[in-house]
Amino acid sequence: MRRFWTALTVLALAAATTACSDGGGGGSGGNTPGVTDTDILVGTHMPLTGPAAAGYSKIAPATRAYFDYVNANGGVHGRKITYKIMDDTYNPATTQQVVRELVLQDKVFAILNGLGTATHTGVLDFLRTNRVPDLFVASGSRSWNQPDKYPGTFGFNVDYTVEGKILATHVKQDQAGKKVCFLGQDDDFGRDFLAGVEKVLGPVAAKQSYVTSNPNVGPQLGALKQAGCQVVMLATVPGFTALSLGTAAKIGFRPQFVVSQVGADISTLTRQLGPAARLTEGLVSANYLPLSTDDANPWIQLFKKVNTQHNGTAEFDNNVVYGMAVGYLFVQSLQTAGKNLTRDALIAAVEKGGFQGAGFAPLRFSSSNHSGYGGEQLTRVQGGKQAYFGDVLETDDGDGAVRAYRTPPAAPPANGIPAAA
């Protein structure tokens, strides 16, 4: 017992020492945390290690690379952006710790692009209580669009229900009369996606689910094969898309696969499938950002330049494009918020709307709408390359129709940095 108290005293002394040494915290020049005349400090949480890190671990460094590019060209209103990336290994308990560290200790101005539904859901209340802007969450959950409950939280991704509706509309037109089935992750991702699909197609012929802790989808695909499915819609993360394609081939099951954007990045799939990459041929998916392989696209040209100059020439894939698109949209928001930067000004700037960013689908931020991109364009893999086809489609997560969206995409400014509004 006595040793316990001794230990406690020693620790208390140590704690008190650190308290004296780091009392100052982050740079607070004015009243706004994380903002000085020369700097803006922004933080994020991402899985950099562990099983969930595949693909995702490239996003935040790409965002930082874009910020470095902006900083090298004079910053935003004379301020340089520092992006602090915290590894949460996709564990919600760790997310709690690192987000509190960012907000309470480092005193970040905002949290940007925190990744994951279960992980980020846990910190919503904390961020609201501390009035921290929570911009462009990296997940397609509908939870981010609750302006009354969480006025500072905004989405970025197309939500899973919208995506399910758009992909199902394609199936309805292109694969009329075929038997449509579903395999999805056993959480909001799978459920919301299926809800969208069934809004358009009615009940699917067969549905199966998987959990990430059991990497064998043999029984599920076996059941779909026996049910005579001709189209299989997948709400899967990239690893399980690859696994599903491989397993289906193994048992001689060759339906048309229609895959959520979340799990359809062709470079990730090709890398993982290796010699079996031909299995991706004909795969249908959708996206709302320029594809990394589209060299003619001005955004891709810009992002490739940034990648070479500031990202240590990381392998250029759609995750890098995503990270930089997030960075661009954030800089655009900062520019609009103006020289006198406060948290309220930033949120007002985003709600004012009118942004397009690098995406070509509608972005309709307003005081009553905090959801991310509201539509997608279909992609198909042909000759090992993913390419867009058809119109850009938009819809809502309710019963609204799926319509074509005709506004042309924005072009990046010549210097690659959004202008001040």
């Binding site: 689910s209 059991n214 064998n216 989808v217 059941a223 026996q226 690859a242 491989g246 193994k250 499938l273």
Partner: protein, 292 residues
Amino acid sequence: MDRFVFLTFDGLSRGAVYAAFALALVLIWRATRIVNFAQGAMAVATAYAGYSVSAATGSYWLGFGVAVLAGIVLGTVTERVVMRFVDHSSPLNEVVVALGLVLVIQGVLGMIYGNEFRPAAAPFSRDAFTVGGVALLSRFDLFVFAAVGAVVAALALLFTRTDTGLRMRASAFAPDVSRLLGVNVGGMLTLGWALAAAVGSLAGMLVLPTELGLHPNAMDIVFVSSFTAAVVGGLDSAVGSVVGGLVVGLLLSYVSGYLGATVAPIAVLVLLVVVLLGRPGGLFGRSAARAV
């Protein structure tokens, strides 16, 4: 009926890879009386080495050989450099050091290769032969069965028919007496680690093509399933670990197929409770777990 046949073969081919890895756990348990929690991470590390060589030379089998060889080296180094210096008064010290090793290996692999999935190629086709529209086994599954059978036979020979095997078992059970009898106990421990790591690497090369791919954490879940398999079969029995592996594989397949994938871990827990309450030393263990 078709469904049952399909799930049975799916479960057997899964079970075979669990069995392969469970064999490595049994080997090190028999040789050193510890459960090597780092076995999975070590196998992944050697698989990375193997696939790097395969990629550079274009030869799968060269990479395969390198992986197994790397296993021997890594096992030897781990025992000589780290495990030998761990205080053995509490078996938990070894467990904690092994867990530390897992983190080091995963961190280093992440630094070298990145935390991305990489393809883990199989030497034979994974397309299953189908009979009457029902997919049964692939060439690769047959290769796994053959390899597991060969390892079981080799281990049985080693431990029951050779002096070295006898010395290894003696060193594990009674190190002090063995030392007095002139057995090179330290050498036997090193040998045990080297052999177990080699079997682990071989198992890794069999398991990884059936998983999501090559990743620093690729064996985490396999470790849990295989450890379960080894416990069900009895950690002292090579045959037990094969049976345990097949039982776990079949159970996971049936439960996922008939009840849903989410229920599978609950079924595994129930299996463990039922087996261990009946036989506290596993199916093939000698039931001497209780003294009185």
